[in-house]
Amino acid sequence: MKPGSGAVPTSAGRLSSVTQAGGCRRLGLARLLCRALRCDWLLFAEPAEVLALSGFDLVGTFYLTSVLVPASGVPVLFTFRAERDLAAAQSWIAQVVCWSHGEDPLVRLLDVIRARTRREAGRSQQPIRLGVAKNGWLTVCQVEALEACLWLELVEAGSRLAAVASVPADEQRTALHGAAAASLAALDAGSARASAGVDEAGIAAAMAVAYWHAGAGELTRPMSVASGPRTPQAHALPGDRVLEPGDRLNLCCWGSYHRSPAVFGTTAVVGPPGVASGGHGDPCGSVLAAMLSAGMAAAAPGASAGGIAEAMLGVPDAGTVTDRRQPLGYCLGLSYPRRPHRFRLETGRRDIVGAGDVIVLAPAAPGRDGSIARVCLTCELTAGGVRPLPGAGWPW
């Protein structure tokens, strides 16, 4: 490990989702896993895993950027030449190996694995066992090329790699609260702009401006704004529809701060021109409130994702939700745009939530006019219970 890492600010400056202490703890767990699987190396290729293990917040998520963890010896951060200096500045992993344009990154990666194994383990005959997630961030072509490598034996370790890399750490809380502040600022700005005669795109622009001025990081999903007949679509992108009095309006912001995400969504009925929307007397409110309460009550450490979803759907009148296939929420981790969450809270899902996890409860309820009201509330799970992130009120 490098001494004094972290001197160069990372993507969100003073607030960081990961620290060297947390990362080294995860690297230690990865080593144990590597030995337990009787592997020589583990390959962590998901962007969130790379960040959690190395501190490197890769920008372009290029191709095969990854962390190689050996059963013993020092790990390797493998990245693209253009991001070498960024990786070296951010990461506590001392050995950074790069590939350049024109090189095949997979060939370079295999060279590193073979050379290190031969040098340190003195092995040249038996196959080298490499633990990977075949259904993760690696492409099919990359997995098949690894499978075709005669001196390599691939070991499927997908969910166990993710479990090691997603071990929560207290230091993430600070960044998480920064993300919450930015997302809530966006919702406030959107709600303030929303009135009859304003179009959805204008509301989304107001949300984005407030969000960025809060100093937040990359959005993990686009701002969602949907009004009237567009509300049945979850994650709806803003369009040019102009709000009319009495319209249902749903707003949602998937913000992040140094890749720690916080998701908030609100719903309202649009008032007359010049009057900001408000949720007072919203007939959907009681159903949404009951679903949120049921979700929070069910989301104790050890609960399953499916159990939380089913508790929310067990609320009277929740059964009238038109699209029961939509998830009732998400369990978040470090988030990148194509990987905004770890898993969904949906019926039948067996993933378990634990203390330190962060979940989003996202109930929906139908209005009388055929519209759908949606809200999102991000909560922290602690040993003592579930609580919304600081600053978050009841979401309407």
């Binding site: 917040d57 991001e83 344009h101 961030w137 690696l138 099919v140 960025w212 992108l237 040019d240 745009p337």
Partner: protein
């Protein structure tokens, strides 16, 4: 506020017809009986549907005869009002749906099995062993889905990742029109950063100024995040903004990307706080020469590698500080990057063609700890190359 591009409504029906014909021709020339498309960019390209949830998988089945059938995981497709007594019989289906022969909503854990069944029963595959193409080089296709498909269909499975990307590298007049709009928004964003850049300003504050300009112009979140690095952080080449504050005499690397209908255009510059030092001026002059040398070579028939060679020759004195290729093709893309198309990279033998658009962005990076970079989007035309950005290419002091 300029309103956001509507899903499915950006381009004319004739444009989608052209794309459909080109894709069908490519499938036929590749000798495929069906191509399984799984990349979200390609679904947008062929239907106009802009996808908000990139975690949802799909398979778009394309045949040489122009057939287009979509099987998508729940949650990917926008809800379509169901037919029934209350439905408006005169209302046409949404535009994206009109561009498909069939569209089915499938539970995620049944998607690959359903596609295999559809291939067996609904597509008229030849009696001989069919040839099926798939996109194995992108993240969107999962290993387990492909294994399920292979178990379900006895076929020759052909890796076809580059098939549609190659087609999309050369853009139509309509696509170039959307890119011009994105380039104009990127100009406005960089100008907003220049206006906000003063000693003491934080990188995140500068980036926020650029983001605000993009938001008010109706840009979607871009494929590539905004970059802003001051002083030694500019030397990181891909500096995501932090709270570090600009000091006199420092360089600022800034890159803003605008996106409309998922067509992305980026603009990158280095600014000099209080004017450049002699070293900074010399580095800028070298980079400017590299840009001009490369631009002069950007004509139809010239290889992409020759453009990089010309740019590198002008930076020979800084060879150790060239971190990357001279440029790359831009266009339709979702995060996390510009979808790899054609690189302006030494050794690349493919030739430039009219209608291609590149981000031309030679740099000197890490020299005395800073990055000096000059970038623009460049359209290849039958005659001379056209720069799509209005931003000055002269040295910028702030």
């Amino acid at each position: 506020v300029v309103t956001m591009v509507q899903p499915g409504g950006t381009f004319t029906p004739a444009e989608f017809d052209r794309r459909g014909r080109a894709v069908a021709g490519a499938v036929e020339r590749a000798g495929l009986d069906v191509l399984l498309v799984s990349l979200h960019e390609h679904l947008t390209y062929l239907t106009g549907l802009v996808i908000p949830d990139l975690t949802r998988r799909f398979f778009l089945l394309l045949t040489p005869g122009g057939g287009r059938s979509l099987l998508a995981e729940h949650g990917l497709l926008p809800p379509v009002p169901p037919p029934g007594p209350s439905a408006d019989p005169g209302r046409p289906p949404p535009l994206w749906r009109q561009r498909l022969d069939a569209a089915e909503d499938v539970p995620g854990d049944e998607l690959a099995e359903t596609v295999a069944g559809y291939l067996r029963s609904s597509l008229r595959l030849p009696a001989r062993r069919p040839r099926i193409g798939y996109e194995g080089g992108w993240y969107a296709l999962s290993y387990s889905d492909l294994q399920t498909l292979r178990r379900g269909i006895d076929a020759g499975w052909i890796e076809s990742t580059r098939l549609l990307v190659g087609l999309r590298t050369r853009m139509s007049a309509e696509e170039i029109g959307v890119l011009r709009r994105a380039a104009s928004a990127a100009d406005a964003a960089v100008q907003a950063v220049i206006d906000a850049a003063e000693v003491g300003a934080a990188e995140l504050e500068l980036a926020a100024a650029g983001h605000a300009a993009l938001a008010w112009l109706g840009s979607e979140p871009s494929s590539f995040p905004a970059l802003c690095g001051t002083g030694p952080r500019s030397g990181l080449y891909h500096p995501v903004p932090t709270w570090r504050r600009l000091a006199a005499g420092e360089a600022v690397e800034v890159e803003m990307t605008a996106s409309f209908g998922r067509y992305n255009s980026n603009l990158v510059r280095t600014l000099f706080a209080g004017g450049p030092s002699r070293d900074q001026r010399r580095a800028f002059d070298v980079v400017r020469n590299a840009f001009d040398n490369a631009l002069a070579r950007m004509r139809p028939g010239v290889s992409a590698g020759a453009v990089d060679d010309a740019s590198r020759a002008a930076r020979a004195g800084y060879a150790r500080h060239i971190p990357s290729r001279t440029g790359y093709s831009v266009g339709l893309s979702y995060p996390p990057f510009f979808l790899p198309g054609l690189s302006l990279l030494s050794g690349e033998t493919r030739a430039l063609e009219p209608g291609m658009v590149f981000s031309l962005e030679p740099s000197v990076s890490g020299h005395k700890g800073e990055t000096v970079i000059l970038g623009c989007n460049v359209l290849i035309t039958e005659s001379s190359p056209e720069i799509l950005n209005a931003c000055t290419r002269e040295l910028i002091s702030c």
